[in-house]
Amino acid sequence: MKLPKDKSVIVERHNKVVYDCGDTVVKVFNGNKPAADIMNEALNLARADQAGIDVPELLEVGKVGNTWAIATKKVEGKTLRQLINEDPEVERMADFVELELQIHAHKNPLMNRQKDKYARMINSLGDIISEATQYELLVRLDGMPNHNKICHGDFVPSNIIVREDGTMSVCDWAHATQGNGGADCATTYLHLMLGGEKEIAEKYLRTYCERQGCEMSYIQNWMSIVAAAELARGRVVEQDYLLSMIDVVDYY
């Protein structure tokens, strides 16, 4: 695919650049990103769309030069992150949690399974955590309740686009799976904590539990597992913090 000359950069990360191309948004990945990852993200997006979730429409998967790119139809609006930054006083937590629970209400039996994904990630940590800890994490994961809700996997304010009319579209489906909503909640909590927003994280957790009608301990059961998953994504700076979350026991 070809990008227009007047394109502008929306965001630049270590593995991708996202461009605003007028009517479309194009995510251009780094050259070393495996094709399978790109296809998986596009497929997740398509499946979320198919399940009835409000997502940017997938237009094209192709190459820009030598690297892979995904083009979607642009959703006019600002990200929730932008809105929070612009006006931190406005109360948005209820809407944020509600949107997440709405996503969880959808199902798509073809999506990747959350437990398989976490197990793979835990198994990849051989160099960082002990065999015993790995074993404990896997046993804990295995014992978690099996659900089949669509889980975004990276549900944070910067991945939510708020239109003028207040409706919201969710982008970046790279980490989506079907599984337990509690794990998704724990992930969001962890991301907020890692982003230095402790108070918002705590408030988010409380709101989620209230709305979902679950005990906080139910979400906390997932914390060590999602922390291990984060570690597997190569979080180096926060490694000690994540390790302290991982080094917990239910029982010995």
Partner: protein, 882 residues
């Protein structure tokens, strides 16, 4: 087995597993070994059990050292105690327990219990008590002739394996097959899952994840989980003993026993202050101000227990939290308020860290404990310190705690595992948490959970009985003589006569009354009993009866008067008894749900029949109809048996022809049904046979010539004899069906029986009944033989049994015709449409009649319906065989 493994554990017998394939291979070897072990005698097994326990005991110190060194948790000296306990206490508890072959036998009742091993035990062993749990599980596996494959915790795999090896070596040396004990060396979730799936039972000690994995593996599991033992120190408790017990228990192996105290709630200011002072005096540290928060954040991370504090000394934990305490500190205590799980101190801490709560009242303390149990320790253990004279409080506490062990005045670490502070609580290192903890057992796991018990139950016959009135007087003219006993011997003062208006008005009761007058017995009479007596009529009678307060009831009349009198007797003695309960059908009268109240405390019951049919004077039965609802309550219980029956032929002479006929054929039906009943016995058979013979000899005569005294006399006796037979052997489906013909179509009872009698005989006589009656004594369908015997006794003969049977049936038909019984239901004026409309309901109700249960053939409702139809339309009788 790899070379490397062999050099590590150079024993050649134990099984060390490194991979999935190896695990499957070893399990196959193990299965072979276990098969051989399963043939071992109790003596062989006990020797192995002894040697294995001795070996483990000898190794208790090195194993304890290994465990502390490898896991970095706990206290060597306490682990020595645990190893010592796991070998000595377990051996002592089970040394004499039978676990092989026949373990229980009762030849009288024909019951035998045989213990069989289960096979391969998949054992999951935790880090907290690795060597002691391994010793425990291996020992109980060997005692029960099972093989055991251990999945140790990766943090404790070396010491766990060593404990297993020691037990295994000793067992092999004592004669056990090789390969009975194994362990997984290279642990993976996959290996553990394979073990769980492939073993025959899982003995899982582990966290919620492990326990859940065990239960979802499809293999039966004994899994146990985490506890959160709350302690209450009541205001009445011996605080010094309480506090020191808690310290002793909480510091044991640095707080790693899962039954160990996690929180203490003290009731009342005084006790709280005393407890705090004692804790301080004995070297516990109360966290102050900021220290509290620092420890909070150290022990719990995101609601989960920090792995690094488990089994550490108090001072070490304080140091991690940046709190300075003396090195000798025994326990870190946080005085906190919230019992909610968001309070870090409310968690299970597996370390010498304790939460302390204040409660104003005992109820408040219970509420706190309930919450703590609910949040982290459902099903495990709770503890109470109290003056044991406070039984009410103790009961309240026991009722409130959803824990499977409730320990009183006992250090919970030592108390929960049993046999140390209470000698009836089974010693175990696997503590069941019941369904509350997702477990299949709620007690301390022991050898009984590792055997399959086969119960061999031989057929035995029911005890039967023969119960009749205490006194049965008979012979023409016996009534005044018998009544005399009431006054002269029993000293009765007040008699209440129950009869019907016809008998009363015709002066029938006069002779009784004058006899009573003669003896100075006051009397009153209720004479409003109508045929098919109603509850309302009985209630009316009871009013009079109660105000008269008799010590004797004299029932005079036919079945109706005697039934009504029995009911009035019951209502008089037990006004609280409910008819719905008493009328409930029974399968076995001795096992009925509702026990009848004891009768005879107020009144003596005399029954004087004036017709020769029902036998009610000597039966435990009565039927009453609720006129308001139309419901018939058939009551049956030996409590309703009259105390005295007076069968005086003089009272029978005025029976009209119709009554003679109907009650006469009723006698025949009683006798015959009692004879073919599944409950017939040598005690009832002679009565039934004699009654039948008398009917054939004398019924026609009594019918033809009502003044034939001899015939009347024998018919009176026949009725009473048949009554005594069916009072004990019960009746059958003939009566069930006749009851409903009476209820739906008002055919007199005796005739209702007679219409279907020979049809039911053919039905019962079937060689291939659809279903036979179930009763231990009833071995095979033999109603036909019984009918033939009965027929012969009644004077019918033939070259073959079949011929006798046919002759007997013809004879019955002749007799019926002679005494004017009509041939079909239709002939009794039953409207065809109404008959058909009610037929299904009537058939179902006949099936459900109490009499059905003793019938030799267990009827289908559809079969009952067909018999009714046949009897309505005069179709040929059938046996309904194919």
């Amino acid at each position: 087995m790899s070379e490397e493994t062999k050099t590590v554990f150079d024993d050649g017998a134990a099984l060390v597993v490194r991979s999935n394939e190896e695990l499957l291979e070893k399990l196959a070897l193990m299965r072979e070994a276990q098969k051989e072990f399963a043939t071992f005698t109790q003596e062989q097994v006990d020797k192995i059990f002894f040697e294995a326990a001795m070996a483990a005991n000898k190794a208790r110190i090195p194993l304890a050292k290994m465990a502390v060194e490898e896991t970095g948790m706990g206290c060597v000296e306490d682990k020595v105690t645990k190893n010592h306990y796991a070998s000595e206490y377990i051996y002592n508890a089970y040394k004499d327990t039978l676990t092989c072959g026949v373990i229980e036998e009762d030849p009288v009742f024909g019951i035998k219990k045989i213990a069989e091993p289960i096979g391969i035990i998949g054992a999951v062993i935790p880090t907290t008590n690795p060597t002691s749990t391994a010793i425990f599980k291996c020992l109980i596996a060997l005692k029960t002739r099972n093989a055991i494959m251990i999945s140790p915790h990766p943090r404790a795999k070396g010491c766990t394996a060593e404990a297993a090896r020691i037990v295994n070596d000793a067992a092999v040396a004592a004669g056990a097959p090789e390969h009975l004990v194994g362990w997984i060396e290279a642990l993976s979730l996959e290996n553990t899952q394979v073990l769980m799936a492939e073993s025959d039972i899982i003995l899982a000690t582990g966290g919620p994840g492990m326990v859940k994995a065990a239960y979802s593996s499809g293999t039966p599991a004994l899994g146990v989980g985490a506890g959160n033992t709350p302690v209450i120190i009541d205001s009445t408790a011996d605080v010094r003993m309480a506090v020191n017990s808690i310290i002793h228990s909480k510091t044991f192996d640095n707080g790693m026993i899962c039954a160990s105290e996690q929180s203490v709630t003290v009731v009342g200011d005084e006790a709280y202050a005393a407890a705090k002072a004692e804790f301080k005096l004995r070297g516990c540290y109360f966290l102050e101000g900021e220290e509290l928060d620092r420890v909070r954040k150290t022990i719990i991370i995101n609601g989960k227990l920090n792995a690094r504090i488990v089994g550490q000394r108090a001072a070490a934990i304080a140091e991690m939290a940046g709190v300075k305490v003396p090195q000798s500190t025994k326990i870190l205590i946080g005085e906190v308020e919230s019992v909610d799980i968001t309070e870090e101190f409310a968690h299970e801490k597996l370390s010498p860290v304790l939460a302390m709560y204040h409660a104003d009242t005992f109820d408040e303390a219970i509420a706190k404990s309930e919450r703590l149990v609910a949040d982290g320790g459902y099903g495990h253990t709770s503890s109470l310190y109290i003056d044991t004279r406070e039984t009410e409080k103790m009961a309240k506490h026991a009722a409130a705690m959803k824990t499977c062990r409730i320990l009183v005045n006992t250090p919970s670490s030592h108390g929960g595992i049993g046999d140390l502070y209470n000698f009836k609580l089974a010693p175990s290192l696997t503590l069941g948490c019941g369904s509350w903890g997702g477990n299949s057992v709620s007690e301390n796991v022991g050898v009984k959970h590792l055997i399959n018990v086969k119960t061999v139950a031989e057929r035995r016959e029911n005890m039967l009985w023969y119960r009749v009135p205490e006194k049965v007087y008979f012979k023409r003219g016996c009534m005044p003589v018998a009544l005399d006993e009431l006054g002269t011997i029993m000293g009765k003062k007040r008699a209440f006569i129950v009869t019907d208006s016809f008998l009363y008005k015709s002066g029938f009761t006069k002779q009784i009354e004058s006899k009573l007058d003669e003896m100075g017995i006051a009397h009153a009479c209720f004479y409003d009993v109508a045929p098919d007596p109603t509850l309302q009529c009985a209630q009316e009678g009871v009013k009079q009866l109660s105000s008269f307060e008799p010590d004797t009831i004299i029932a005079v009349g036919g079945g109706s008067a005697m039934d009504a009198a029995k009911i009035m007797w019951l209502m008089y003695e037990h006004p609280e008894a409910r008819f719905e309960d008493m009328a409930m059908n029974f399968m076995d009268i001795r096992k009925r749900i509702y026990p009848y109240p004891q009768m005879g405390n107020k009144c003596y019951f005399v029954a004087i029949p004036t017709s020769s049919g029902t036998g009610s004077e000597c039966t435990p039965f009565a039927i009453i109809t609720d006129a308001e609802t139309g419901i018939k309550w058939p009551l049956a219980d030996y409590q309703l048996l009259p105390n005295m029956a007076i069968v005086d032929t003089n009272n029978m002479m005025s029976q009209p022809k119709g009554l003679t006929s109907a009650s006469g054929v009723d006698v025949l039906t009683h006798a015959m049904e009692a004879y073919v009943s599944i409950m017939a016995s040598d005690y009832t058979d002679p009565l039934a046979l004699r009654a039948g013979a008398l009917v054939f000899k004398y019924l026609a005569r009594a019918y033809d010539n009502p003044d034939d005294l001899e015939a009347r006399d024998h018919m009176a006796n026949a009725s009473c004899l048949a009554g005594m037979a069916f009072a004990n052997a019960f009746l059958g489906v003939n009566h069930s069906m006749a009851h409903k013909l009476g209820a739906y179509h008002h055919i007199p009872h005796g005739w209702a029986n007679a219409i279907i009698l020979t049809r039911v005989m053919r039905y019962n006589a079937a060689e291939r009944p659809t279903k036979m009656g179930s009763f231990s004594q009833y071995e095979y369908p033999h109603a036909k033989e019984r009918y033939v015997e009965f027929g012969r006794a009644c004077g019918f003969d033939g070259a073959t049994d079949d011929e006798v049977f046919e002759n007997f049936i013809a004879g019955i038909e002749d007799l019926k015709e002679h005494v004017g019984v009509k041939k079909t239901i239709a002939e009794y004026g039953v409207d065809e449409q109404y008959f058909l409309d009610t037929l299904d309901e009537m058939s179902e109700n006949a099936f459900n009649d109490q009499c059905t249960g003793a019938n030799p053939r267990y009827p289908l409702i559809s079969e009952i319906k067909e018999i009714y139809l046949d009897a309505y339309y005069d179709r040929p009788a059938s046996s309904y065989e194919d």
